[in-house]
Symmetry: C2
Subunit: 316 residues, 2 copies
């Protein structure tokens, strides 16, 4: 499973754990890195001080490469970047902004950069910006999402044509079969969110994890198109947003319903009724699963991938 | 490429051309069957008399198996079925209704039956109904779509678990790489719409085909969730629906905007401004392609599939 993605980041397996708000703390990031993948800290829900603490704790329990995901629209992104550089984190995944903004700055400090996109247009901009790898994330993904609503199956081949960069597929990938499928489409690695958000090491509340492991098909939907399209899990918060959208609520009216601190309330504190719950569509494929440790999950991914490859070869 | 799908329908390649309204007449169906796949007539836009004519014309130019797609919510579905039985069509693909309704009736007449679903729940119902194969169609697909909005990448593994029936993947498949990808997920064949809708043999207007070959990512969207979710192409009709939905229009108000005969107007007559244009999301991957003959398209699919398989094997 060695390729340009594993070489770029100095890892064993081309499996990256998405840096998810309220899920991706030091426990999850270090567990994924220790299992041979690349763990990312989710700075989207961290202050610079908290991020510094999580970087230190990650480093204390793994000697392997790890990274930080920084949503560039976050007002304190510059301070987060300073912490990352000061602490000599080897990898940064940027999202929700222009890849031109930070790539050179990070490269000057010896830090590898991947940028998350949802279209081939932005993938081409990544190449211009000189990033080391591009993550193409489809409509299936949880949380914030692209306006084009392009699914992973349609997006990966489009991004593959648009850039020669190492390509990491994201959105809808929770099995080794799906890893093989996106490889057939031209991806060289995967960024996995949902599956890792629901492991033992994820810092999400147990209530959130249990709820997400009981979802049926159709229990997550992309809403908030008038603001920033976001995939949410059904529940009180979801219902309020959906009802408002159905009656034609404006962006401002939606902002008022959303209020502040709702993703912390839902994901971290486990208030399933009033909180904002974000997970990928693929959660329904994990319905009735246990909350498992990362090591077991990564081993299964690799086994599934190898078995699927053998089967595909034998059938052809 | 022989498997349960090719055996079930007596065809060479596990490639089925979706029976699409205003696209899938005798020219397209016979061309796909003659190329080794399974061509379907789209009875959704045909009267029983017109269907009878298309069956005769198909049979006049191919001795290979072909079929008819019958949307079961169509008021004249019983009459269409009578025509199909009378003309001894070997295969029927049913959609938009219960698979229990017609399967036995068709089987008694020696006709093979596949049913189209958008969820694993309905796939299980297909197995109970005794259909010969199930088509699982994801969110990417053009036209009418499932309420769950499950993408092909998430849907195929779910349906694969829910049924042991021969499984045909649909939605987002326009290349041999995508054929290989859905095979990795457990599919044994593909139903392809968009790619065939834009061939020379499709009965859609040239204006429609040319417009669909100029789409960028994000130029089709799923709208009409308050009625029957439908993937539409941007244009005057799309804009009117989208604007109405954004201001909270009810289902009745949307019905009034839609009026009647709009898909014929858009797809068949080529009125890109006032007509309803339906195509899959994957059209953007075909941007700037030529309008090609079916034979060339099918040959390319097979070549791409074989090359992708060799590449996947060599890289592992």
């Amino acid at each position: 499973m060695k390729n340009r993605v594993t070489e770029t980041f100095g890892i064993e397996l081309p499996i990256i754990a998405g840096g998810m708000v309220w899920c991706s703390g030091w426990e999850l990031a270090s567990a994924v890195s220790n299992a041979g993948g690349l763990g990312l800290l989710g700075a989207g829900s961290m202050t610079p001080e908290i991020l510094a603490e999580h970087i230190e704790k990650t480093r204390a329990v793994t000697s392997r490469p790890f990274g930080v995901n920084v949503p560039l629209m976050k007002p304190d992104a510059p301070k987060l970047m300073e912490v990352i550089a000061e602490k000599k984190v080897p990898v940064v995944f940027t999202s929700a902004g222009s890849p031109k903004k930070w790539t050179s700055w990070l490269h000057e400090r010896g830090i590898k950069v991947a940028h998350v996109v949802a279209s081939s247009k932005f993938a081409a901009k990544c190449e211009e910006a000189g990033v080391d790898a591009v993550v193409a994330e489809g409509f299936e993904a949880g949380g914030h999402n692209g306006r084009e609503e392009t699914t992973t199956l349609c997006l990966i081949p489009a991004v593959r044509r648009a850039t020669s960069l190492p390509l990491i597929a994201a959105g809808g990938i929770a099995t080794g079969e799906a890893m093989l499928a996106v490889q057939a489409l031209g991806a060289e690695g995967v960024q996995i969110g949902t599956l890792f958000a629901l492991t033992q090491e994820s810092s999400a509340s147990e209530a959130f994890k249990r709820r997400c492991l009981q979802l049926n098909e159709g229990d997550t939907k992309l809403l908030l198109r008038k603001l920033s399209p976001t995939r949410l899990v059904r529940g009180g918060f979801f219902d309020a947003i959906e009802a408002a959208e159905n009656r034609g609520a404006t962006g401002d009216e939606l902002l008022e319903i959303i209020g502040t601190g709702k993703s912390r309330l839902g994901i971290f504190e486990g208030d399933l009724e009033n909180g904002e719950l974000e997970i990928g569509q693929v959660a329904s494929l994990m319905c009735d699963s246990e909350i498992e440790p990362v090591e077991k999950v990564v081993k299964r991914l690799v086994d599934e991938y190898r078995n699927a490859l053998s089967k595909l070869t034998a059938n052809n």
